[in-house]
Structures are given as C-alpha cells and as structure tokens.
C-alpha cells in the first residue's frame, strides 16, 4: 500500500480508476454527446495512447452522464470472450439480464426491450481487432448482427489501432458493419496537457524540479504512457539517489520493452495491429 502511495503512476497501461484518467476532455465530451444521441463510435489511436483506459472508464462516465445507461465493457483479449456466445453472455450479464436473453437469437429482442424500458444500452468492445483474428468464430454474420443491433437501440463503442473499415473484410452486397460508427481519434497530449500532467499534485510525491520536468516532457513527447513511466522512473531515481540520466535510461528501456520503439513519438505513427 505504501509503495502505491509513493508511486501513484499507472505503469500497467490500463487505468482502472476513473479519477486518474487525465485530460481527454475533448474525447470525453465527444463520447458524452455520442452516448446521448445513441451514436456508435470507434475510438482509434496508436498503442498505449489510452484508448482502453478511456473505454474501460466509460462504464463509470456513462453512468454519471446518463443514469439510464446500462454499460457492458468487454475486453476481447480475454479468454472469456473468445466465442460469439461468450460475448453475448458477458454483455447480458453486465446489462443485468438473464442468460437466456444472451442467446444469439434473443439478443436483439433483449436490446429492444431494454431500450423500450427507457434504458440506454451500451456495449464497449475493447481490443476489437482481436475478434477479427478469429474469422471462423466471428463470421460476417456476427458483424452484420452487431450492426443490426447498432441500428435498433444498441450504442457500440470500440477501441482499435486501425479504423474499422481497414480491419473488417469487405462483404458486399449488404451494408458494411463499420459505416454506422462515428470516428474519434485520440493521440498524444498537447504540450500544455503534458506539462499539466507532470505538475499535477500527487499525495506523497514531491513536485518535480524544472530540470526534471523538462527532461520528462522531452522524453515523453506527449505520449501518456511514456509520461507515466518517465515520472515514475525520475521519482524512483530521486528517492534512491540515482541521477536523472539513469532514470531516463530506465524509462527508455521500459518503453522499448513495452512497445519495441526507442522513441515514443514513433509510436503515434504505428498503426499495425
């Protein structure tokens, strides 16, 4: 517990505390607007930029923005979501309806009934690209079914590195899955936001010096994960009597290990799944 207080940074990538989702005000405002109008949205951005954190915490934000929202967040990397049946079962669980409502045949009726009952039914599909890799299970029929749900009361939010039309194969002749989605790209923090992140007061953490701040900002170049890692390493080095250069070296190694890149800025350009 003590160490958590000493190092209040999210190094695992996914931020699960909604209060810790820094900045992203524009993205949140957009998502709020889309939610209020029932417009499905694809959140697109480079790796570790905060898509999953935003989508994960949408569960919390959505309930705050619209108390009638029934949000199901599914991490499609999880082994619990490897089949169509798993996906619908987990979604039904999160919406608070019984298992019999989760069957593929019943799901559209369930969504319609929940919507008619005055609820805003929301499905957040994190790491959406994962299911595209299992075409035998997640067939075109699944995507068409999901599109149909999106047209009859379900609001879908996805997170991907690529835009959906690049991910999902073309399947003429009927309307494609992706054309019901608005696009929301998220990228690096602006210079002001990155500086505000470093300056943000944290319990038990002494403020960074001007030199440290400059080094962190220069290293991270607005990348949210790089900022977290750099802040952590600089703080750790300071507390253990190590130099700033060592801290940045450690941070660089960490980023390299995670993303396979030396320079966080390059990550923005990476769209390969």
């Amino acid at each position: 517990m003590e160490s958590e207080l000493k190092y209040p940074f999210w190094l695992s990538g996914l931020i699960t505390d909604p209060a810790q989702v820094f900045d992203r005000e524009r993205a949140k405002a957009r998502l709020r607007l889309y939610l209020s109008k029932g417009i499905s949205c694809q959140i697109v951005g480079p790796p570790s930029i905060g898509k999953s954190s935003l989508l994960y915490n949408l569960q919390h934000f959505a309930r705050e923005w619209d108390p009638t929202a029934k949000v199901a967040y599914l991490d499609l990397q999880s082994a619990e979501c490897w089949t169509v049946s798993d996906v619908y079962t987990k979604a039904a669980e999160a919406w608070g309806v019984g298992e019999r409502h989760a069957k593929e045949e019943a799901i559209s009726r369930t969504v319609k009934e929940l919507s008619k009952g005055g609820l805003r039914v929301v499905l957040c599909l994190d790491e959406f690209a994962r299911i595209v890799r299992r075409p035998d299970e997640f067939t075109i029929d699944f995507f068409l079914g999901l599109r149909s749900l999106g047209q009859s009361g379900l609001t879908i939010f996805t997170s991907t590195r690529q835009v959906l039309h690049e991910l999902i194969p073309s399947y003429n002749p009927t309307s494609p899955f992706f054309n019901i989605f608005a696009l929301l790209r998220i990228g690096l923090f602006s210079d002001e936001d990155a500086a505000a992140f470093v300056d943000a007061p944290r319990e038990g953490v002494p403020p960074y010096s001007r030199e440290e701040k400059s080094a962190i900002l220069s290293f991270a170049k607005g990348h949210p994960l790089a900022l977290q890692i750099a802040c952590f390493n600089v703080l750790f080095a300071k507390q253990n009597g190590e130099s700033l250069a060592t801290a940045l070296e450690m941070a660089n190694e960490d980023m390299q290990a995670r993303l396979g890149k030396n320079d966080p800025e390059n990550i923005q350009g990476s769209t390969a799944e």
Binding site: S36, Q42, P67, V163, N179
Partner: protein
C-alpha cells in the same frame, strides 16, 4: 443420641440447606422457564417448535427417538396432569350447573385413560401431538365417561361410546396438528378432504356403536317423543360446529366461497349424522349424551385450540394497540413487537392494522421494514395476505413524489418489485413498469447538460405519463384510482419543470443540437426527419393505384436515409397501412427459415399493434417441424382479424443479406414463399430496401421479382434541407449568413447523412465559440471536422467504388480526365457518387478524395 452442633457447624449446615434450597428453586425456575418456552412455541409458534424440538433432520431422520419423546413427555407430565385435572373439573362443574348428571369417579378414570392414550400417541406421532392429545383426550374421555355413565345409570355401553368418541377426537386432533402445514398449503386440498372424510367416518362409527350397543342392554331409557327435539337440536349444533370447522379450514386454504359452501354442506350432513337418527331412535338421554359429548369433546376444542379462537380477542386488542403505538414518531419498529403477528404464528382470522403498521415500519427504516415482511413471508404462512396487502401499499406509496428528483428516485425505490416473488395485481405491475420508464427519463433529464436532450427526455416522460393516465381513467377498483392520483401529481411536477425549462432555454446561450448521424431517425424524432413525403406518396399510390399489388424496392445509395424512411412510414402512410420492418442483417432472423419467420411474426405483431390490432405472436416451438405451414396459418388468421381496408406493408430492410449462398439454401425457399404471398395474398405488400437493384443481385432475384417497382431514394430537396437546418426544432436558436447556408447545402448536396453530420459539427463549433450566427468559415471548419466523424461513410463510398471506380474518382478530384470505364461510371452514377455530367455529386466527397486519397 443428640448431637450438638457448634455454631460454626450450624452455620455451615444452614448454608448448605440454603444452597440446596437455592439449587432447587433455581431448578424449578429453569423448569418453569423451559416449560413456558415450550408452551409458547407449541401454542403460538408450532412451526418453530417442529424445527427446534421435533421435526425431521436432513436425512429424513426424526430429531427425537421414541425414547427421547417419552422422556420429553414425562418432563412435561406435571403440566399435562395439572391441565387435565383443571379441564375435567371445569367440564364436570359446567355439566352439573347445566343439569346434566356427572359421575366424578368414572370421569377421573376417563382422565387417566386419556392421559395414557395421549402419551402413547405422543411417543408414536410426536411430542406436541402427545401433549395436546393427553389434555384433550383426558377431557373428552372424562366428560364422555362422566356424562355417559351419569345419564344412563352405569350403562357400560355408553362408557364405550365415550371412550371411542374421545379416541376419535384425539386422533383427529393429532392429524390436524400433524398436517397443519398441508392445510396451509393452498395447493393441497387432498389432506383436508381426507380429514373431512375421516370425521364423517368416525361420526358414523360412533353412531353405529350408539345404535347397536344399547340394544344389548335393557337399561336404556327409550323415550322417542320427548328426546327427539332435544337431541336433534343438540346434535345439530354439534354437527354445524364440526362442519363449520372443516369449512373454515377449506375456506382459509382454498378460498372463502368454497369454504363457505363446504362448511354449510358439512354442517347439514353432520347434523343429520350426529343428531337425527340418534334422537329419533333413542330419545332424549342418549341423544343428549352423544350430542353433548361430541359437541364439547370435539367441535369446541377444535375451534378453541386448533383455530386459537380463544386468542383472537387478545390478538385484536394487541393489534390495535401496536398500530396506535406505531403512529408515534419513529415508533413503528418499536411497536412491532407488540403486534401479535410478531409472536403468534397461529392467527387464522384477519387482523386489522397489521399491514398499516408494516407500512409505517418500511417508511421508518426501509431495510428493517422489508426484513419484517420477509419474516412474515417465511414464518407466518397464515398472514401472507398481509404481506401482499402491504407490498401493494408500499408500491403505491413508493410512487408518492413532491419534486422531480423524487420522480427520478422512484426506480431505485421500486427495485424490489422486479425481484419480488409475491404476485402484485397485474394493473399495479403494468403501471409500475410505466412509472419506472418515466422515472428513468426524469433521471436522464436531471443528468443531462444539454438543454436539447433535457427537452427530449422531459417530453418523452410527459408523453408516457399522459398515456398512462388515459389507461388508468378507464380502469375500475381502488388501485387504479390510487395510481391515477399519483399520476396526476407526477404530471403536475413534470409540467412545472417543462415551464421552467422553456423559460431557461429562452435566455440560454447554448444552441440545442438536434442533429444525428450514423443511426436511423426514429419515429419519435419526426422533427429532424424532413421531406420524403414524395416517397411516401409514391409508395401509397403504387399500392392503391395498381390493379395487382406490386412488389416495391426502396433503393438508394448507402446512408441515404432508407432505414429512417422505413421507421417514419407509420407516420407518413395513412392508417390503412401497417408497416412491418424486419432488419435482414439481424443474426437472430437469419439463422434459419424458422428463425426468420418467427422474427417476422414478432415484427408483424409489433407493427399491427401500432394500428391497435392485438394479436398473439407465434410460438417458436410450434414452428419446428413445418415452419411455412404454421406461419401461413397464423398469417391467415391475422388477415381475418385485420380491418377490411388494412394492408400489411412488409419491409425487408438490408434485403441483400438474404442473398442465397446456393440454390438449395433456405433463403431460396423463403424467396419462393414471399413470391407466393405477392401473388395470392393481396393484402400483403412486400417492400425490399437496400442499396442494390435486383439486376445487380442476380437471377435469384430478377427471376422471382421481375415486376418489382423501384422507389429511388436519393438526395433531399434543398427546401427540405433549409427547413431542417434553420428550424429543426422549435427552440433552435442558431442562424446562418445566407452564404453559409448556401455553402452547407452546396457542400453536402443535400445528402442526408452528410447534411446531418456537418450540421452536427457546426452546432458544436458554434457552442464552443459561443456564437449563434454561422458564417462560411464555420461551415468550412465543420466540414473538416465531419471528415473525421463521418470517416466511416466516406471510406465506405471509396471502398465500394472498387479499384476502377477509385481511379475515376481520383482523376476527377485532381482535375484530370477520368478513364472511360463504362461499368464503373454507371455504378458511380447509379449510387449517386457522380452525377450525369461526370462530376462528383457531392462536393464534400470530392474535397475528401482530394485531401485524403489523391495519391
């Protein structure tokens, strides 16, 4: 030898004596408290007695062995003896006081015999039965012996009658106590009937003995003329009491009317069986003996003990007292312990004020109040009606509101109704669902920052409420009246909020954003659905003006608003059309032909309900073997019930998803069936909706629907778009410079999706910059923003164009001469990507291609 004890020894002995006395007193006190607890449980809480003292363990083993039962009864014996003695004394003196001769010595013999019988029964059947049987049988046998022998001068035959009669009563009593849980069970009438038949059989046996035994004796005083009237009267009362007892049991378990009828019939039968023959044949003394014996020995104890009638006045007084005490501030939960239901399980008759007290308890502390209801539901089966009544009251009470936050809170307050296993009245359940919807809309209203969204939520809430009010006005009964009063109060609160919101919007800086893209516009959002009356008129004319009902194809490029048109059809078309929409992309409908037809039946049911025609949806399981035949029968029935001018307009949206994979696919059978309907069911009109024409889809379609009439959906009319952009909703307070409006219309060329997307972005932009008049630069910026938000549409146009189509588009965008590829050019024209002149139909798409795809 007298031993003299020293003072110390005396003191020590005194201490020992005192300790011994104290120990005895302590033991007696413990015994007394233990006995009191046993009596309390036996009398007031038999089910707990069964669970804790005797009863059955999990493996079906009884808790107490025969030996343990005997020990238990022996432990209770002092009390059993005392009560039996008191009972016999009271009965004996009552008999003597009423002029009936009573022989005390034989009566004590009867008491002793009864105690032995009761103990034996107790060991065999159960300790509670044994205790009750000992006292009642000793009383019955005592009075039977005392009265029988007393009245017939040592006629042992009558002693035998008394003995058997008493035994019968004991057995019945035991059965009644044992089977009480069955009696409480509403579904189980068999044990009750068995009990009633047993009574009748024992009565007949007693009567038979009474008939035959005296003939062996010459001491029987036969006086038919005097005795007939008395014996008939006394025995009739006995029979009536017995019959009413059984009737009451049935009444409480199977319904009051049934119980009343059964009670009356049993009364008459009992009176005849007990009294009439005996009185007619044997006269006054014998009739009186038998009648009084049964009357006192069976009916009265049954009423007083089994039904605890003796306790009812006390229960009544406590109930009133507890309610009055519960009305004090925060006093309800404290007062509950005084309520008889809290400590008495066996209250057969209704008690007033209990549900009112429970309601006060729930108001005082919701959780503890519900705990009490759970307790009654589980531990007081005879008072479950109180739980039902209280839940009704709680449900209605939960709807009481004074303000909008109160309304928004109602969903939480009514959470329990979704999980309640208690059956609330249907009108209450149906109304609660609607009140909940209104509550959710109020919640949405309160949490929304956007005034436009607020207006929508409030409008929907008021609309739903007014519809609920109308449905309640026509319903009879107390509950609808209470609900209507509540609904009226809600209406007052919501209307007041509407007035306040309207005033707020007038002075607000924010521009409401009613525009929406990416999903179809629902029928409820008719204000932002503009135009398309020409299409509705064309559909109507195509159907009404044709000699033979045509098939229609609503065809247009993607995102041109086809699904929105379908959703608006119920409003756009006249009441004689019932539009039915089925999304063919819905995976539930596309699993098999059975699934398709089943979901089509659901859509039809829903569609005709909008036209106030209530039909039952098709049962899925009935369709497993012969789906087409079953569906056809159902459709035929529906056609018979439809008003004669009504037509079903079956709209199959995204029809391309039905493209058969092979000639043997189920889709081919389905298409054949659809074709059959076109030819032989003139009241069913088929309308496909999609982006492609039938020739594009191939011979599977053209071969079946060659005569289909195409209804093309293309760009909106500029005048409709101007109305949409300038006055989409009454409170819309954004304006445009003439150039800006013109720019927006030109850029999108009235393409519905892009118009909505750019207008959506424009409103956001204006709100961000806190301005209300949009200029050309704002429109340009909004177009740029829409390139991101509407990227999916633009990318779809690009990918659908195909490689050659993309070459053409890129060349046009770059100002080069496009390659001449007739098929691709035709496709691009057909799908409104380029116009007849070979230019981009939508300048915004051209700009997008130039900016994002030119290389």
């Amino acid at each position: 030898v007298k031993v003299t004890l020293s003072p110390a020894q005396n003191h020590h002995r005194a201490l020992l004596n005192r300790a011994a006395v104290n120990k005895v007193i302590s033991m007696l006190r413990d015994y007394f408290l233990w006995s009191l607890e046993q009596f309390y449980l036996m009398f007031f809480w038999p089910s707990k007695f069964r669970n804790t003292v005797e009863g059955v363990e999990q493996q079906g083993q009884r808790k107490l062995s025969y030996r343990q039962r005997f020990r238990y009864l022996l432990k209770l014996f002092p009390w059993t003896l005392l009560f039996s003695l008191i009972c016999n004394l009271i009965l004996g003196f009552l008999c003597e006081a009423s002029g009936v001769p009573y022989l005390w010595l034989p009566s004590w013999g009867g008491v002793l015999f009864g105690l032995i019988c009761g103990t034996v029964l107790g060991v065999v059947i159960g300790v509670a039965t044994g205790f009750a049987a000992s006292i009642s049988s000793s009383g019955v046998l005592g009075i039977s012996a005392g009265v029988g022998i007393g009245t017939s001068l040592n006629n042992w035959a009558f002693f035998i009658i008394g003995v058997l009669g008493g035994l019968g009563a004991v057995v019945l009593f035991g059965l009644a106590v044992r089977n009480k849980r069955f009696l409480v069970d509403r579904e189980s009438v068999v044990p009750v009937i068995v009990l009633a038949l047993t009574i009748a059989a024992l009565a007949s046996t007693g009567l038979a003995i009474a008939i035959f035994a005296p003939t062996a004796s010459s001491h029987v005083p036969v006086d038919v003329s005097k005795g007939r009237a008395i014996s008939v009267g006394v025995a009739a009362v006995s029979g009536v009491m017995t019959g009413l007892s059984c009737g009451a049991i049935l009444g409480l378990t199977r319904g009051l009317l049934f119980g009343f009828a059964f009670g009356i019939s049993m009364s008459v039968a009992g009176a005849l069986a007990f009294g009439l023959p005996g009185g007619m044949i044997y006269g006054a003394e014998l009739g009186k003996a038998v009648g009084v014996g049964f009357l006192l020995g069976f009916s009265v104890p049954l009423w007083l003990t089994y039904f605890r009638v003796v306790m009812y006045p006390i229960d009544l007084a406590f109930s009133v007292f507890s309610y009055l005490k519960g009305q004090q501030p925060n006093g309800a939960l404290n007062a509950w312990r005084w309520c008889p239901v809290a400590w008495n399980e066996v209250i057969w008759l209704p008690l007033p004020f209990v549900s009112k007290l429970l309601l006060l308890c729930v108001k005082e502390d919701r959780k503890r109040g519900f705990d009490l209801l759970t307790f009654i539901g589980a531990e007081r089966p005879l008072q479950r009606r109180v739980v039902r009544a209280t839940l009704n009251d709680i449900a209605v009470n939960s709807l009481e509101v004074d303000s909008l936050p109160d309304i928004a809170d109602v969903t939480k307050r009514l959470d329990w109704t979704s999980n309640s296993r208690t059956e609330l009245p249907p009108i209450l359940m149906a109304s609660i669902a609607r009140f909940e919807r209104i509550s959710r809309q109020a919640e949405q209203y309160l949490s929304s920052l956007n005034e436009y969204q607020k207006r929508i939520s409030l409008g929907q809430a008021i609309e739903e409420l007014e519809s609920l009010q109308l449905s309640l006005i026509g319903s009879d009964g107390d509950i609808p009246t209470q609900l209507l009063l509540v609904a009226n109060r809600w209406h007052g609160v919501l209307q007041a909020e509407r007035v306040r919101l309207h005033a707020q919007i007038q002075i607000s800086d924010e521009i409401p954003n009613p525009f929406v893209f990416g999903r179809p516009i629902d029928q409820t959002e008719q204000n932002i659905f503009m135009g398309r009356q020409d299409i509705a008129r064309l559909i109507e004319a195509s159907i009404l003006g044709a000699a033979q009902t045509p098939t229609l194809l609503l065809q247009g490029a993607r995102r041109m608003g086809k699904t929105s048109i379908l959703k608006q059809l119920p409003r756009l078309l006249g009441p004689n059309f019932a539009p039915i929409i089925l999304d063919c992309q819905d995976s539930a409908a596309r699993g098999s032909v059975t699934s398709f037809l089943y979901h089509l039946s659901l859509a039809i049911t829903e569609g005709v309900q909008q036209r106030r025609l209530n039909i039952k949806e098709l049962q899925r399981e009935k369709m497993d073997n012969e789906p087409f035949e079953v569906f056809d029968d159902w459709l035929r029935k529906l056609e018979r019930e439809m008003p004669k001018d009504m037509r079903l307009l079956l709209c199959l949206d995204e029809y391309e998803a039905l493209q058969p994979q092979t000639e043997k696919s189920w889709e081919c059978d389905l298409l054949d069936t659809l074709r059959h309907w076109i030819q032989f069911r003139p009241r069913i009109v088929l309308m496909f909706s999609g982006a492609r024409t039938f020739p594009e889809m191939g011979a599977v379609w053209t071969g079946r629907f060659i005569n289909a009439r195409r209804v093309r959906v293309s760009f909106l009319k500029p005048e409709d778009v101007i109305t949409l952009l300038t006055k989409p909703i009454p409170d819309f307070n954004m304006t445009y410079t003439p150039e800006a409006l013109n720019k927006l219309i030109t850029a999108t060329n009235c393409q519905p999706f892009l118009t909505q997307a750019v207008a959506f972005e424009l409103v956001q932009l204006m709100n961000d910059s806190k301005r209300k008049e949009a200029g050309v630069s704002d429109v340009n910026a909004a177009v740029s923003f829409a390139f991101e938000s509407a990227d999916a549409y633009l990318s779809n146009v690009w990918s659908d164009a195909g490689e050659q189509g993309r070459m053409i588009l890129r060349a046009i965008a770059n100002g080069d001469d496009p390659p001449y590829i007739p098929d691709s050019l035709a496709w691009l024209r057909n799908h409104d990507v380029i116009n007849q002149e070979g230019c981009f139909a939508v300048p915004m798409v051209e700009q997008w291609v130039r900016e994002y795809k030119s290389n």
